[in-house]
Symmetry: C2
Subunit: 439 residues, 2 copies
């Protein structure tokens, strides 16, 4: 009977903010033609175990009275990528490729709860997946769509602007190969932790991986490469490293950054230390942070993968980006930074004179709803002053008195006037709940 750490829940006012955020990202994704899918909450444990490092965070699901130990063992999905890969393989014969989908669902991880980490959390993912091949122009597409979603969240909810950092795995891998490191993945994972552990510790880790001091210097120097002006060509070339993969990655990176910068200017940073730890990225990688809320960490991230999944006939390359809705909105809502102007959808509370005239009040409500105006009828026939306070406590802006041709009061201003419930319309700004930002 008490709240469980890591499983956030909101009061109705907070939930209105969260729903609005979900509605906004949904609208932006659909405006770009992304189709929604929902996948089941569980996957066979064997599918969830393939990403070794996450295995230990999985929540196991079994029937309480499972008849044998042999019964199927499932886990709650820990992201929306594993279920999506399974869905693509399972339905490949019925999907049109490139398949562009969004998914807004909870995911679960058995982490120790800490600031900004949840055990049940909402994610919003977009991915574009091809069958056999997928052009790199889709990399820019998913980035632009997610940046537009962030922009809409700023414009409509007052979320701070974001910064996106982009890089390219081919560039990184080409650079490391070019300086003589044959196994780039452990280096990528070490550099990925650089912002957390610092230069000194990273240098030690690199040395342990067998890099000589010149290589360590170059890796750390390369990690310093960044620019808000689109291209890092000159900076990269200053190391004098030549490699075919590096050239290809640099080309892709310049192409992506110039497209995104053309629209989002200085919000775009090319940053060579961005690597994303996961082993399946093979090209563009990106991370988004909230300006002024860097302590929340990466709120959105993604990249290009040459193979989301494979079956007997095909491989499915893709590019996608995931947005951590709970990571952003749970702290903003629970700290009161974002709140709603009322706790109910109702624009109008219809007052009730007496139990006998309740049907008359219900007629008023029906007339208002008929024209799309959310309303509720007062639960009792107490004195009008009490009914007004009832509405006020919920933040409902208007109270209606009398029959369909009656009177309406704006309880914020105290103004009251004659009105016909078949014709009167509230201010447009009152029709939906307003989202308010703390000053």
């Amino acid at each position: 009977m008490a709240s469980i750490s890591g499983f956030p829940e909101f009061l109705p006012q907070g939930r209105i903010v969260e729903m609005r955020a979900h509605d906004i990202v949904r609208r932006v994704f659909e405006l770009h033609g992304f189709a929604n899918i929902q996948t089941r909450s569980i996957e066979p444990l064997s599918d969830l175990s393939r990403k070794g490092e996450i295995t230990q965070e999985v929540y196991l699901v079994r029937r309480l009275h499972a008849e044998t130990q042999e019964e199927d063992v499932w886990g709650l999905h820990f992201d929306l990528t594993v279920p999506f890969a399974r869905y693509v393989l399972e339905n490949s014969g019925h999907l049109e490729f490139p398949f562009r989908r969004y998914q807004i669902q909870p995911a679960w991880r058995g982490e120790r709860p800490q600031e900004g980490r949840f055990r049940e959390f909402w994610q919003a993912d977009i991915d574009i997946v091809g069958q056999g091949e997928l052009s790199t122009h889709h990399d820019a597409e998913v980035v632009m769509v997610m940046m537009e979603a962030c922009e809409a969240l700023s414009a409509e909810l007052g979320l701070p602007p974001v910064t996106i950092r982009i890089n390219n795995r081919k560039l990184i891998q080409g650079f490391y190969t070019g300086i003589g490191c044959s196994d780039p993945l452990p280096i990528i994972q070490a550099v990925d932790k650089l912002p957390k552990v610092g230069v000194q510790a990273t240098a030690e880790i690199l040395a342990k991986l067998g890099l000589d001091s010149s290589q360590v210097d170059k890796v750390l120097g390369f990690a310093q490469v960044n620019s808000t002006r689109g291209s890092v060509d000159d900076q990269v070339r200053s190391f004098g490293v030549t490699n075919e993969l590096l050239e290809q990655g640099l080309g892709e990176l310049t192409d992506l950054s110039s497209k995104v910068s053309a629209r989002f200017g200085s919000q775009v940073v090319v940053d060579a230390k961005i690597a994303r730890g996961l082993d399946y990225y093979t090209g563009s990688v990106f991370e988004i942070e909230l300006q002024g809320y860097e302590s929340l960490g990466t709120i959105s991230a993604g990249g290009r993968y040459d193979s989301l999944a494979t079956d007997a006939k095909n491989t499915y390359p893709g590019v996608g980006v995931s947005f951590g809705l709970s990571r952003v909105f749970v702290p903003l809502i629970s700290q009161g930074v974002l709140t709603a102007s009322r706790s109910v959808p109702s624009v109008v509370c219809v007052a009730v004179d007496s139990d006998e005239t309740r049907p008359q009040a219900e007629q008023v409500a029906t007339a208002l709803r008929h024209r799309g105006i959310p309303c509720e009828v007062s639960p009792n026939s107490q004195k009008y002053g009490k009914q007004i306070r009832f509405a006020d406590r919920r933040g409902i802006p208007y109270v209606w008195f009398g029959p369909v041709i009656g009177q309406v009061k704006d309880i914020r201003s105290g103004d009251q006037w004659d009105a016909d419930a078949n014709q009167w319309t509230p201010e447009q700004s009152d029709m939906t709940v307003q989202i308010l930002q703390a000053q």
Copy 2:
């Protein structure tokens, strides 16, 4: 890597139908001022075990690498009532009563899958809960709201009309007490199964419960009482049973049925055999069926409970009704009764001449999206015929050619005309995906 029985998933076209259904019930609930909440997916197992009969269906949730057997044991919720009761107690100091909430979420039951039963399924619940007291006029309110939701699903998705059967536990209990049965609950549960097991088997069960043959006859006779004309007063009184609780129940039932019949006419049946098996109902009870799809069983049900929950200070009486979204929509979608006019939100596919003019196509798309028109840019620059087929396979109605001042083709009619992407607007009926019913 295969579908798991009882955990339904849809292709994008089916998911559009499901989302639309969820959007419709949400809109109706909000029009009536119900506030949304979402509760976490899990509850402590001890809270889920209180309803004895459901315990064995619970899915247990634990961390894969739980460090001790003593770690908290949770289960996935099997309905939205248990979590709601817990939420009300936990947040009672922050909620305004009567508290009117809706909840649209999945629930899980470890049942053996069979027709119309799922192990992961969506429910839509509305409840009104008071602190200490709650007027009976809210019984009619929740029924009217759910019936309006069903009506909107009929009007907008072509769902068949529904029949609602209503009854009152006080009437039943008063009648049974009045004929000398001191323990009504087992009789209620026996009669609840009458439609499934038949009159003969029910008579035998009642005899085993200790009823004499005159009592059995009266119970079975009473179960025949029904009317589509609002009142069953005369039928009930013909048994000559007098009891105070019976009178109270009959009054509540007549009041409820007359209110609902005034709006929904012959869709409303007063039916004395409706009991709802659960022990917590204490007044009005109701069940909704789809006309012509009676094999789906009850698609929505609810009732009045004098105590949803209690804490040290208060008891929380309520009335609510639950709608089984998956029970209705999974069969209708998977049998192809309901489908969507396209598999993507896009109204327009912008054709691409060559890789060099892709930015021009993106400008067209930006101009259209700026005015709220969902669209996508062709992934490649194949021959126009192939790009039109690409759009057609997705059901996208329009293809755009050339720059912002270019041409648009309705690929259904083949008509093509000059258009300016800053001004042209598609037919209103094409703006959102149409839901189609099989003939």
